[in-house]
Symmetry: C2
Subunit: 212 residues, 2 copies
DNA sequence: CGCGCAATCTACCGAACGGTCGGATGGGCC
DNA sequence: GGCCCATCCGACCGTTCGGTAGATTGCGCG
């Protein structure tokens, strides 16, 4: 009997696992369900990955590897640091829209979800270093002054991630009606708007503290 | 034998459960651990709460109830809608700093974590309606124009939540060194800065799309 | 005291889960 | 055909987890 489905079983397992880990969390996903969705017996998972934890790491590796490539490509391009930030934010939105489950996994991980003895991927560490260098550049600090570049970048990233993954749950009426593309468009415009407003005009610190 | 510890066992269970659900997620928390931390036998949990799911709901109820009170108080105060948003953001920061685990639970829930047959608390629904009304007010739309008020509020909330819960994990070197109070102060200033910059100055939509 | 009642304990259960074992299947290759 | 090897399967194992049953303790009160 032809083993059902095309022969990229390993890849299909990875994809199903990504979906499962994203939607159910690490301890919430049952290997049984992954196998079911792939259309394979649970034991077959252990043929490709030695344990649940290894499968999880493989999923993360895959994502981190892709992300590293993209980020590297953006950072190697010509342009001022602030433009690289702009580009980075755009690819960030792309990633979140294209791979929502992957984003969920990342968010979950930042909340503390992970197998007991887990440590970050090499790829993700390298990527983080690249971005950190950019964020720490004097040139960027000058463009943003007096805004803290780190807070700026992390805040906008968080905003994007939160929007797409949590928005539909918090306010389904707002997101549910329209197709993903138009939501994406609206969000991207908003984030850009906020970003550009931060980029010019001077400090409002006095005004802010007056409100306190 | 005097049952060990002070007699507010129920409350202590709730607190331990909040910590556990926040840090481990719903399917990640073990009732055994909660009992252990309270200093009580696992079976005792079932004396106060009929099931894991009920315990989870009780934790959420507690949080939602407190939050509703605070939000109601803010919304009933005098002032323009935009000032209420400012105040709301400030209490939001307060909540996130004071009850980090509660925030994590909320974030997890928006990612899809929850017992199988779960539906939102009445309190949280009421609170959401109150805020939704405010966000939908014409007056606020005018203050923010052309920024979408909904995107504005949701985005800033997401930014705050992401900062405190995920920031320390994504970049421990940035957060770990200083005490919570100073981190809080820095974040609050940043969020206020971003907010105030959004509040004045006109649209940068043209500039933004030029970047695309 | 002695009764009731709430709270807590010890001990256990059934189900589900991660993981293992040994065998079946079937295609490629000589 | 005959062999190999990757792939996949059905059945099973040990542990853990949520949940239950029943006994025990100790306090309040007539």
């Amino acid at each position: 009997m032809r083993p059902q489905g095309p022969r990229n079983t390993r890849q299909r397992i990875l994809e199903a696992a990504e979906t499962a880990f994203g939607n159910e969390g690490y301890s919430g996903t049952r290997l049984h369900h992954i196998a079911e969705r792939v259309g394979v017996q649970k034991a077959s998972l252990f043929h490709y990955f030695t344990s649940k934890e290894h499968l999880y790491c493989a999923v993360l590796d895959e994502g981190a590897g892709q992300a590293e490539e993209i980020v590297k490509h953006v950072l190697e391009s010509e342009g001022e640091p602030i433009d690289k930030i702009r580009a980075l934010l755009r690819v960030c939105i792309d990633m979140v829209v294209t791979y929502p489950e992957r984003t969920k996994i990342q968010l979950r991980q930042s909340l503390g979800d992970a197998p007991p003895g887990f440590q970050p991927t090499d790829a993700s560490e390298r990527m983080l270093c690249l971005v950190a260098d950019l964020v720490a550049s004097d040139e960027l600090a000058k463009s943003l002054s007096p805004i803290d570049p780190f807070a700026f970048v992390l805040g906008l990233m968080g905003m994007v991630a939160f929007f797409f993954t949590s928005g539909p749950v918090v306010a389904p009426s707002w997101f549910g009606q329209q197709d993903a593309a138009s939501v994406r468009d609206r969000i991207e415009r908003h984030v850009n708007e906020v970003m550009e407003r931060c980029l010019d005009g001077q400090s409002h610190a006095a005004k802010s503290s007056a409100v306190l």
